[in-house]
Subunit: 432 residues, 2 copies
């Protein structure tokens, strides 16, 4: 048996505790599988006096990051302090500091990787160490590894993911129980799935960070968080849910990235997906990532996107891989950008659309709206009219694929029609 | 750039052509990703005069395996000749010969790996080379890599897989169109999904080989093909499909393996799966593998289980990994058995059951059958009675979980009841 590989753990919150628990429970198996023992030799916490849910030796606890970064016996730094309040510091500096000191780094920090991944990968390359972040996207699902290794023979053409568990839980409740957004949000907050300030989840920020990471890796081109077009789920109504069902769709918050010859697109928004699509059956807090490669065709990965043990499972897998590489004396496989494709602006993107208009109930209304669509080359694939005799009545359209620029022009014209009370909602349709 | 890694390709059938096509199309990307060029320097075929669907230089073609095995410049042997007629020779000898000569081996050969994987892994270990077989199970789905690497922090508790595309296509047709087995089999044969002799697929042999490989890896214990209990789909009727639908299930040919404290179970049989289960939505020729780990919870991998490019994608990913390891001067991660768990006999396995009995339409019949179940501690969760006034009428039961030994005893007693015309079908229920 070799001498132990030493880990410095930064952060002992939910995921950190999961890592300690898994490594204690499976110590023997992990030692066998990685070629020798792995030891957590020091743990950085904010408050050393706090009671812990997992047993850790008091003498390993420290409140001084330097005791990990400057300890030459520590081989791997596992950064799990996250970004409270959205601040990447001190996490970013800790990761950079560890890499600069020749330590391998494992992190679950989506904010730091989405914002600073490129420079950190470069830093890791310079210092010939590994930077592993499987746990930063979709918890226990091995999507990062699969893109980097299993899909190596492919040009990845598209990614469509349900990568925020909170909103998927909410949309599942809305779809199955016909309840409104506000009500399921309150319930999700009571169950601890949504935070007191739910903005990051329901407005799609969390998914946008994760998509920036996935798209950067899959397309080998830099994709910044701000490059990702973003729309939340707050405007999805029970009425939209019912129309979706009638039209053969379910509504999911999808993170979508597509690669074209010279450009890419990246967007997070509520999306109607055909009921037969594998993503349509992904319910509750589960995550799933659907990928299309030019050789492998369609692949989907499904599992738990968050939680102590699922995310801990991904972190420990990364630790084991780092330990194996250390024992074999090789660098990690870093990947990273090799080209610079332009990211399309939202107006340049092609999609199908669901459009729900509230209109005056009179003959000729449909013709006027259809003409507005036609004027901008938007072609209609289906129409539903509901509430005959009420005021307003609902007119629901699903379009064929169209450039968003044309769609926006058509919508502007439609909203200005005297017979149209309002354009109640517009939701993109994908996966057909 | 490093000097090229040289590949000797054995077999230029469907998958072999896919490998040549992918490596030609993505040569640059593969060279970048694996740290240098990869070159197919020799190709073994049976008939050198045959016209090929992919462009290969004539001087690289050989009909003599020795020209690959005994060529010291060849680093990686890719064995894709398969097992025509179920014969593992000469594929097994080629693989063993390559390993003995210090060559890394990539194969898609499920028969050889299922039957001789253990000794070949041992041989690879002795000669410090890699043996890669991602393509042997579920085509383009990276299930082998995920079990070996992504799930390293888990004890795998259960595997449930749809790992035979032909039967999944047939069962999908039967379910959606209400057509009988023989008819969809003919159609599958016409479409080239099923072979002229469909035994290997429809009797579950193909799935049993793959399950033996998956279970051996996931549980790190040897599982022989003959250890896998096996039942085909030939007895599934449109009537069973309709009852399944009514009860909230779909029928899939599942490959199931579960780990217990001291034992494991492994079985392939038609299975009723709840409609909400992620496997229920896997249709047509698609494959999917559902895995439960003690840390990660439920994971599912979905994709194409066969075909030129999907399987080629998995083979090329293995070639790239082998090339990386060769360049870095390290062995592949071999895995392999580290314990010996006993495989349960079918009678020792616990499952729920669907039982379809044809009975005389008279009062008291239900009571007699219920008593027979009760006598053997089989508890009933639901009953459907159909065809009132006909002779015979159908009585359909779904049981709670029960030991198969008890179930068989109950069925024997039921079949002997004078009021029972026949026990038309018995199908296991899983995934609840």
């Amino acid at each position: 048996m070799h001498s132990p590989v030493r880990v410095g753990l930064m952060g002992l919150g939910t995921v950190g505790s999961g890592v300690v628990e898994i490594m204690a429970k499976h110590a023997e198996q992990l030692a066998h599988r990685s070629g020798g023992p792995i030891e957590i030799s020091r743990i950085l916490v904010r408050d050393a006096s706090k009671t812990r849910s997992v047993p850790v030796a008091l003498e390993r606890i420290t409140t001084d990051a330097g005791e990990i970064l400057d300890d030459p016996s520590i081989d791997i730094v596992v950064e799990l302090i996250g970004c409270p309040g959205g601040r990447v510091e001190p996490a970013r500096s800790y990761i950079a500091g560890a890499l600069e000191r020749g330590k391998h780094v494992v992190t679950a920090n989506k904010d730091v990787i989405a914002k600073h991944g490129r420079e950190l990968i470069q830093l890791a390359r310079e210092h010939r160490v590994g930077l592993y972040f499987e746990a930063a996207v979709a918890g226990g699902i091995p999507i990062i590894k699969s893109i980097k290794e299993a899909l190596v023979a492919n040009e990845v053409q598209a990614i469509m993911g349900i990568i925020n568990g909170t909103t998927n839980y909410m949309l599942t409740k809305m779809a199955h129980e016909g309840r409104p957004f506000e009500e399921v949000l309150r319930e999700a907050q009571e169950m601890g799935y949504a935070e007191a300030d739910p903005t990051s989840d329901v407005e799609g920020h969390d998914a946008a960070y994760k998509l920036a990471i996935l798209a950067s890796l899959a397309f080998e081109t830099p994709v910044a968080v701000d490059d990702v077009y973003r729309e939340g789920i707050t405007r999805v109504t029970p009425e939209d849910m019912a129309y979706a069902d009638e039209l053969g769709y379910v509504i999911k918050l999808l993170a979508i990235a597509k690669a074209h010859e010279e450009t890419i697109e990246a967007r997070v928004h509520p999306t109607m997906v055909p009921k037969e699509h594998p993503l349509a059956a992904v319910n509750d807090v589960f995550n799933a990532i659907f990928i299309e490669g030019d050789a492998v065709g369609e692949l989907m990965f499904y599992g738990r996107g968050a939680g102590k043990l699922p995310t801990g499972s991904a972190v420990v897998a990364d630790i084991v891989e780092a330990a194996q590489n250390i024992r074999r004396g090789v660098d990690g496989r870093l990947g990273g950008a090799v080209r610079e494709k332009r990211v399309l602006s939202p107006l340049e993107v092609v999609s199908s659309y669901y459009v729900h208009a509230k209109v005056v109930d009179s003959p000729g209304v449909l013709a006027q709206i259809a003409k507005a669509f036609g004027d901008h080359e938007v072609s209609i694939s289906s129409v539903i009219q509901k509430g005959r005799g009420e005021d307003p009545v609902s007119l629901v359209f699903v379009t064929h694929k169209v450039l968003e620029r044309n769609m926006q022009a058509a919508l502007k014209q439609i909203a200005a029609l005297p017979v149209v009370r309002s354009v109640a909602n517009v939701i993109r349709v994908e996966g057909e």
